[in-house]
Symmetry: C2
Subunit: 334 residues, 2 copies
């Protein structure tokens, strides 16, 4: 492989001149620049990543810390990963997947060795030991999700609190007063998964404020049990006029569950939920929902990290992305 020295020799200049031509950090005459470009093309020169990283202490790699949560819904995670990668590339970064079970150790590993310029933490929990690892590292980190007590790391997420409130309000506005709220398994709450808490608490308190009756149903990690649990909730609460679903698995079960009970949406029952349009498309889920696309969150997170890498002194931000309701007509006024 051609090195910068080969290019310099071919072009008849010194190595530093080539470097300056490449980086633009010092003026280079047009003639020289052209000779250098010819040499680069002729020798098919590409800078060695390791050498560059060593010299600059920058690898142009972001570490993506994917949490090890078997319950996690794979399609959504994959979307995050893809958008992160795509956005990172557009900013000149590559993405290294860090998937070890012990996320905190994974962070230490890639930061101590200077493998990455910064880390992006997916699915941050309310108490998350990965945050401490980031704070100890020399490189910056950005959180997707919010850790309690953190005020020194940039954070971002969809505003699940506002989402919960908005959906409840939407049902209220349509005249619903008794609703069933299907959320994630208790395990997820026990694991401090932030978006589950934020959505649930906001939905419940909104319902309380509006004096609506709300039945909370926790899904189950086992799909068969989940199916049964949700079905029972439907049977036990015949007076409920609407369903608020925050659980992708239950959502996929829903058409079947409703068909079994000869319930049609929205004539017999209104349904509102939270899921990405793309996901709804994949499974034919024609429900009014908060658009929970990973795209804006992931893209913004990458931009925040890039900005933080470029300037460690910029003010810390904590952003809640405003939820957007897509009305697909599955909630009927009564």
């Amino acid at each position: 492989m051609a090195t910068i020295g080969d290019v310099a020799q071919y072009a008849g200049v010194s190595r530093s001149t080539v470097s300056h031509a490449l980086s633009g950090k010092r003026p280079i005459s047009l003639a020289t620049r052209e000779r250098i470009n010819e040499a680069i093309a002729a020798l098919n020169f590409t800078p060695n990543a390791g050498a560059k990283a060593l010299a600059t202490s920058k690898s142009s790699i972001m570490g993506l810390i994917v949490p090890f949560t078997p319950e996690e819904f794979a399609p959504a995670t994959m979307q995050y990963v893809l958008v992160v990668s795509e956005t990172a590339r557009s900013l000149g970064y590559d993405v290294l997947m860090v998937t070890e079970v012990d996320g905190a150790r994974g962070i230490t590993r890639v930061t101590d060795s200077n493998l990455v310029d910064g880390v992006l933490l997916l699915d941050v929990k309310r108490h998350d030991d990965r945050v401490a690892s980031v704070l100890e590292a020399r490189q910056p980190g950005v959180l997707v999700g919010f850790a309690e007590g953190n005020d020194s790391l940039d954070s971002i997420d969809l505003d699940f609190g506002a989402a919960g409130k908005m959906l409840v309000q939407h049902l209220f506005d349509n005249g619903h007063r008794t609703i069933i709220f299907i959320t994630f398994p208790q395990e997820l709450f026990a694991q401090d998964v932030g978006f589950a808490w934020r959505f649930r608490d906001a939905a419940v308190s909104a319902a309380d404020e509006l004096q609506m009756s709300i039945v909370i149903v926790y899904g189950d990690t086992d799909p068969a049990t989940r199916y049964k649990v949700v079905g029972e909730a439907l049977d036990l609460n015949p007076t409920a006029t609407a369903l608020l679903v925050h659980n992708e698995g239950a959502l996929v079960d829903l058409p079947m569950l409703l068909a079994e009970r000869q319930l049609s949406v929205p004539q017999d029952l209104s349904v509102v939920s939270v899921f990405p349009d793309q996901f709804g498309g994949m499974f034919s889920l024609p429900y009014t929902a908060i658009e929970a696309s990973p795209r804006p969150v992931a893209a913004r997170a990458v931009h925040l990290l890039a900005a933080r890498i470029a300037d460690s002194d910029r003010p810390v931000v904590s952003e809640l992305l405003e939820p957007v309701l897509i009305d697909r007509g599955s909630s009927r006024a009564i």
Copy 2:
């Protein structure tokens, strides 16, 4: 951050001695080794990845080339990614995601710069321009899937041909003579997606050999259309006694489609398919199926790549993983 020089100084030895102690490439006295270890612990030393990569021309990073196929089913891809990452770690490698739309260029980018020690290509198509990129690169590559005419790169995949044949045979053995075969959209075939071709061709020719009647139904990328197409196939072929489904999306639709027609499995209709157990669990799909878990394929691919990186002269392998049928009782003898 501490460098190897700091460690050497702290331990009162030369840098090369520390390096040798770390790599074990030269004998070091016990006393010295202990002093070095103390120094490493005291200074919290971690070798600089860039420096190591520069010195050794090895980054300990594998590039994972994820194809840009919007039709692709996200859960399966995520499983691949996770298993690849996990397996790579167990062999001392990290994984860099390469997701650019132009996969071939992505490969050139990460190999020319010596950013990766090798690449893993997911979902290789029968004619795949990424293969040429790998052949031009200095680093080795392993294909998941088979490219036509390739005999110099290690390849591996589940044996979809055998899978198709096995399922048809299974139905035949249970007495079925008229079956409906639901496969992927025509687009996927047009795009040369290997596993779709291999499964279809094997299934069809097995059916022909066994003198079974087989109706081929191509799914659609639009889920609503797919739903309709599959439903029509059911209505138009009332004499079919079994369904062979090779299409995850259609599979998820199936419970609903059958419920609408009051068909129960396996009393009224037998169903066999191909999907990972884990996926079936996620959506309650109690169908007899070829286990299509990404795990063995992905893990083996990573091992092959590691072996190839270690020894570029080892014989090229082309492995078809034997399919395993999991009988969940959804195919009834008639």
